[in-house]
């Protein structure tokens, strides 16, 4: 067994209320490996199975099929209290009848660690999440952001092999969320513990993760680094869920490994990136990110042509909503330059220049 792997999920399915009319297949033959010291994110819309997968790793649910391995050992049958894995719950689930320090020390006490060790670790954890001043407060006497930190400290205190985080930032306001994103990154770096993070917020996933698994309907659609996922989405769902995309019908005229050539209606050929799955030549859908193109009013050598319907000013950039000559909708994001001159008015005929490496073919 590879000793750099923390968690292996092997062909796991989870069916709730099996063989009844309410049968729900939450996970369908999911396999994934999570490396040690990795910040791994499960990303997907609600009901995609990401929380179920997390609960299976924690031990609150048991897989219908398949196995979950921790550093090569099958832990599928172990109850949660025998797994060296801790969870930060979405609602924090802090014990209301205990102080901040008692909450953080709970896991250590249950492991029957010595009193001095518990005290030392609790102090260290309070220091790590910058909560020393509040150690004797009751849970209802601290704010949501502080509860978040206590929940983190409580889960980190027993030094688990893997830390599971179930949408821990969703209850915080935007500013606090941004702060905690950086904080989580710092904690992961300082502790060297593998983090498995569940979120439905694509921005959160992209900014924090080493790798992201995009899920829907109990299936992992794509696993990769944030850059891979964003620039080279495998399919329409991933492209649509992460960032904004333009979907254009085209024809694949040549395919060679990871690259190929596509042709739009009556236009020249372009180099394009192919998905990992095999794609046959013929009609395909390609995606073009709104920021991977340049708008030009000189449309004689443009790759695509269209008419501006609407433009929306966002400060740093402007979004143009176009209708292409082929009738398809198209969005362009242009970084704003100084001066109003660069603005293009609605109704203007414009050309679109596609940047190099700006076309991604989707699996069909």
């Amino acid at each position: 067994m590879n000793d750099t792997v923390a968690i292996t999920v092997r062909g796991v399915s989870k069916v709730f209320s099996q063989a009844t009319e309410h049968e729900v297949r939450a996970l369908d033959n999911v396999s994934v490996s999570i490396a040690k010291n990795e910040f791994f994110t499960l990303l997907g819309p609600s009901g995609c199975g990401k929380t179920t997968l997390l609960r299976l790793i924690a031990g609150f649910e048991h897989p219908t099929n398949g196995a979950i391995l921790l550093e090569g050992t099958d832990i599928s049958a172990l109850p949660p209290f025998q797994r060296p894995v801790n969870t930060v719950f979405q609602n924090y689930a802090l014990f209301p009848h205990m102080t901040v320090a008692q909450n953080i020390g709970f896991g250590l006490e249950m492991q029957a660690r010595s009193k001095t060790e518990v005290e030392n670790t609790v102090s260290k954890m309070l220091d790590l999440v910058r909560m020393e001043a509040l150690r004797d407060r009751r849970i209802d006497q601290i704010s949501g952001g502080q509860q978040q930190r206590v929940a983190l400290a409580r889960a980190l205190a027993p030094r688990p092999k893997v830390l599971l985080l179930d949408e821990p930032l969703s209850a915080l306001d935007l500013k606090l969320r941004k702060e905690m994103q950086l904080e989580l990154k710092r904690l992961q770096h300082e502790t060297g513990i593998t983090f498995v993070f569940v979120t439905h917020d694509q921005e959160e996933a992209l900014t924090m993760s080493d790798r992201v698994a995009v899920m829907r309907d109990g299936i992992i659609h794509q696993i990769g680094s944030p850059v891979e996922i964003y620039n080279h989405p495998n399919n329409r769902f991933v492209a649509d869920f992460i960032g904004e995309s333009n979907f254009i019908e085209a024809e694949l005229i040549a395919a060679d490994g990871k690259t190929g050539k596509v042709k739009f209606t009556d236009r020249v050929e372009f180099d394009a990136t192919l998905p990992s799955a095999t794609v046959e030549t013929g009609p395909v859908t390609v995606i073009i990110r709104p920021e991977h193109v340049t708008l030009t009013t000189n449309n004689s050598h443009a790759h695509l042509r269209g008419t501006v319907n609407n433009s929306v000013y966002f400060g740093t950039d402007t979004h143009y909503y176009l209708t292409l000559d082929s009738g398809e909708e198209f969005v362009i994001r242009q970084q704003n330059q100084r001066g109003e001159k660069s603005r293009v008015n609605a109704g203007t005929q414009v050309g679109i220049l596609i940047n190099d490496d700006g076309i991604q073919v989707l699996a069909n």
């Binding site: 609150f60 949660p80 209290f81 801790n86 689930a93 014990f95 009848h97 709970f106 249950m110 027993p158």
Partner: protein, 319 residues
Amino acid sequence: MNQLVQDKANSPATLTNGAQATLAAEKRELAKRWFLVSPAMIIIGLAGLAPLTIILFYSFMSPGPYAGISFEPTFQAWINLVMEEDLFEETLGPNYAHGSIFARSIGLALGTTVLTLVIGFPTAYFIATRPLSQRNFWLFMISLPFWSNLLVRTFAIMMFIREQGFVNHVLLYLGAIDKPLNIMFTPTAVWIGLAYAYLPLMVLPLYASMEKLDFRLIEAAYDLYASRRKVLQKVIIPLVKPGIVAGSILVFIPSIGAYVTPKILGGGKSLMLGNLISNQFGTSRDWPLGSALALFLMALVMVALIIYVRNESRNNPGG
């Protein structure tokens, strides 16, 4: 209201017209409030304070020749409560008969509380963990016997535990015993009867606090290496403690003053305080002693309540 009275007392003699008007309005408001609470006050006075005063008064009188009292003030009833005159030596010694009844009453009430807690805790947990749609059904099933007459229920239990009853039949059939157990007319019978009668009073408050229990906290404890026993000990019990205390008080108070159950199931040998009091107003014709015993029982209940209230205020220092 106190605040209003104080304000008036402290107000300086020189008041502006506006302030005087306000004061008059406040006075009218106060009178209105007294008027509105008067029905409650009258009920408390007539149904609560007046009978208590009469009982207190009776307990310091001498017993009448046939029944009732004769108006000769004495502490004899209170002395008889705990002491007994030796007929031959004419000396006062402890009243062992009363002592054993007090001890049995307290013991049976505590025993009933413990038994209902042991049975009621898992029952309430079971109900609280059912889907929402099924909980009312289970609660209804638990409280159903409570809506029938206590006498009927007590006779039902008697059918169950008597020599030829269900329990003995089953145990004999299973070979657990050789001859029928003699449960009837023992303190054990009273214990079982009381626990059966007051079980809903334990289950309902326990359920109320378990329903509020956040089961994600139990998951969190499992996640943090707590075994099932530790979860119960460190998370569930501390969090449902208000329910445990409330249920215990609700069971203890009627149990200690129980009358029907010990009378039917306990026979003559398992008298409890309630039966002793009733005897004083009946066959023994000692109304002052009966009054003193009734007040003594009330004092016991008060002690239980004080423990409860102090416990509550410790749990919620803010409230």
